[in-house]
Point group: C2
Chain length 344, copies 2
């Protein structure tokens, strides 16, 4: 691929400069720039520098506080760590809470981090990878905004409600998956609309609740959960645990509060961390070695572990740098020059 290579730290600094230039504080810009640079490094283009404009747009609309200082909301002695995002982005709140979550999970065997009142623009794999980096397994989930109909229903109610899981591995990147509980991401429908191609069957319904393959009708209607009633059940669980239970917005509430799907939604997030060492204590076998046996059995029969394309891109970027096209570099320059005004 032709283009200019840039080191991770340099890309992160350029993004940081754009964000601080647009009025974001260090604590917000540090974490957000790290997550966006990581998306670009992993060739996960939908969560790379593409995201900067959305972040700036949400900031400019006054829907997220660029100077929020996340705070530990609750230092009770249980297994719940509660972080108040203070209406900033989720990433700095997560980073603040991570050491506490790790301590509690190791002390109690499992623990949860609740992040309240934060705006989400990122995937969930940065979170599960960060927890796995401490030798813990993790489940992370959150609402989004209501664009998905329940199975058998006719109107948007659930979000694309991502569900992510991570398991630590000792020599290589962790086992990680991170998927939407809708059949497709909203961005994929948008891509079909721009390309003028019909959607596959089963992705969406129109505003009357009837199946449709028209991207326009789908955007005016609702997406469908993956796996029929099972995906719909998982979405319900995510709305309950990572919305209702943690005292934060559901996807319907998040859309109502924001009034648009063009900005990043604000809601909560739930991170559950498990200590395999504690769970396996006193039992035969090393859980980390046994997990490798499972992974070998998956790969050995020709199936793939999730996230491998991302990890391959990461390894390449770590030795060779991240490749950006001339257009992408110019885009960064433009965003840097314009500051907050660039969010238009």
């Amino acid at each position: 691929m032709s283009g200019t290579t840039i080191a991770f730290a340099d890309l992160q600094n350029r993004i940081w400069a754009i964000l601080t230039g647009a009025g974001m504080s260090d604590v917000q810009a540090d974490a957000v720039a790290r997550v966006i640079a990581a998306g670009e490094r992993d060739a996960c283009k939908s969560h790379g520098i593409f995201r900067i404009e959305g972040v700036l747009r949400t900031l400019r609309a006054g829907k997220v506080r660029g100077d929020a200082v996340p705070a530990i909301a609750d230092l009770e002695d249980g297994a719940i760590v509660r972080i108040d995002g203070q209406h900033g982005f989720s990433s700095p709140a997560f980073e603040l809470g991570l050491p506490l979550l790790v301590d509690r999970a190791k002390a109690f065997g499992l623990a949860a981090m609740v992040i309240n009142d934060c705006t989400h623009f990122s995937a969930l794999w940065p979170e599960v990878e960060a927890v796995a980096g401490h030798g813990l397994a993790a489940i992370v989930m959150c609402p989004s905004y209501a664009t998905v109909a329940p199975w058998g229903g006719s109107e948007p109610l659930f979000g694309t409600n991502p569900f992510a899981f991570g398991w630590p591995r000792q020599q290589v990147e962790p086992y990680v998956f991170d998927f939407a509980t809708s059949v497709a991401a909203r961005g994929e429908i948008e891509l079909h609309r721009r390309a003028g191609t019909p959607l596959p069957q089963g992705w969406a319904i129109d505003a009357q609740g009837e199946p449709t393959t028209s991207p326009e009708a789908a955007l005016a209607g609702a997406m469908l959960p993956f796996g029929g009633h099972k995906g719909s059940a998982l979405s319900t669980m995510i709305e309950l645990l990572a919305g209702v239970m943690i005292g934060d917005l559901t996807s319907a509430g998040a859309l109502e509060a924001l009034g648009t799907t063009a900005l990043s939604p604000a809601h909560g997030e739930l991170v559950i961390a498990f200590s395999p060492e504690r769970f396996a204590a006193g039992r035969p076998g090393d859980p980390f070695a046994r997990a490798e046996t499972l992974f070998e059995a998956i790969v050995g029969q020709g199936a793939r572990l999730p996230s491998q394309r991302r990890f391959a891109a990461r390894r390449k970027a770590e030795t060779e740098g991240i490749v950006l096209t001339e257009a992408e570099l110019q885009h960064l320059d433009r965003l840097a020059a314009l500051g907050l005004a660039a969010a238009d």
Copy 2:
């Protein structure tokens, strides 16, 4: 429906008499009979009296201890409650651990029950409903035996790996789902085989790893996970958390240890309980009332909540008794008369 009505307690007693007649101890027979009677009460025929023969067969094969006394394996002060099934059935082990799990979840906000070394014959909804009965949300999962290929693979490795969730409701039965992470249950393939009808596309692959609609070829090959790579990822998570992490068998290990899918598999089980009151503490809104708003929005647009058919059957059974056909009653009589020999 024609037949004879029988009260829940009477049915449970008849099942209990069959099980103790076949050599099971009170503690094992009590819990197993309660779960089987509950399946019949809920018109969940695949988990009702149909299960008795499998229980007896597994007992007779010496693959489960009918006199096992489950024990609290670990009274550490963390959030993990560990129950040693002592190679008996999972149900009495679960019942032993439930009060401890409830106490820990209320004390810490969330807690886990690990059940090790137990034989599984039941659905997981009895567990999530029991936890929900204490005002807690619950996730329950376990391996089974290897009959499902990973997405993109060619050989059985995962189990049908059930995943169940429950949320407490105040006036009605809890919100409950309990599904296999395979497209279909193995019993459904067996039904197609008996009926001589082809399987729907996407259910299974043959022994060469090629898609098949032949029930025989499917039984010799592997079932497929639901939802493609997403269901496959969930199955991997269940193998890791509810097999490897808890120091118990994976589905592949369970099949290897048992050598057949004709008996009930032995492996562990993981129950995670959450206290909505603790998670929502200090936040706006009552989580139980907010959950009802979500359920109303689902039902209000014509979609259904899971388990409603079961709950309707239960309500009917609770007022009118459980209806058994003459053939079913004779079957129970035969099992009672034959005792352990009936397992042939």
